[in-house]
Symmetry: C2
Subunit: 131 residues, 2 copies
């Protein structure tokens, strides 16, 4: 039997979306989620619901603007739930939705991968730069 090409395999997929295509919505979604703040915020929320200030503390170096923007986008895209308690001052708690949890399964691995493979990457850089 003939070897299938990558293009054929893609065409055979059940998806209607293909992130290889610049105009495909999934390409924009990929752009959205392949972002360090998304990885870090999602990972933090994976440890359980957290308040705005807690997230800001754990995800060191994030500005309010970026944190709010990331949170809003994640909420809009259905990955994060925002719960507002009408205390004084207000208490806002963020948590993962089902969709967010499924994304975290992938994203969380990305953070772990970076941490686990740092030594190998450093070694590779040494080799590359020393040539």
């Amino acid at each position: 039997m003939a070897t299938t090409t990558a293009a054929q395999r893609r065409a055979a997929r059940k998806h209607d979306y293909d992130a290889y295509l610049a105009a495909c919505p999934s390409r924009q979604l990929l752009e959205r989620i392949s972002n360090k703040w998304v990885v870090l915020v999602l990972t933090e929320l994976g440890d359980g619901p957290a308040r705005y200030s807690e997230i800001a503390r754990v995800v060191a170096g994030v500005s309010q603007k970026m944190l709010t923007q990331t949170l809003r986008n994640l909420e809009r895209d259905g990955m994060v739930h925002r719960d507002i308690e009408a205390t004084v001052p207000v208490t806002v708690t963020y948590s993962l939705t089902e969709l967010g949890s499924s994304l975290l399964k992938v994203m969380g691995q990305l953070k772990l991968w970076a941490e686990d493979n740092m030594p190998e990457v450093i070694a590779a850089r040494g080799r590359y730069d020393g040539m």
Copy 2:
């Protein structure tokens, strides 16, 4: 027994790196790899070795500059191997290294996740915007 906090769990990990910290090298690595071009190039190379122009064709919309830059960074970080054949004109073939393959296991899922969950995200946006 007491509930462990997220901070305690992190401290108990065997890693020397923690991407939550802004200054940690793994944070920079995370920034590097959480990038749409990295996802797309790595995924394409997952289908087997490919030449520069093949990658450029499959990954629609990437400029030479971005493609070269992405490829160089991936090579330097030990995820991609660059093979130059001294034909005229030269033939350059890129392929995944072991490290690159292990990263692809995570990254590839990211592209698939975006394609698979696009309908859900669109629905969530409709809900959010209609409020």
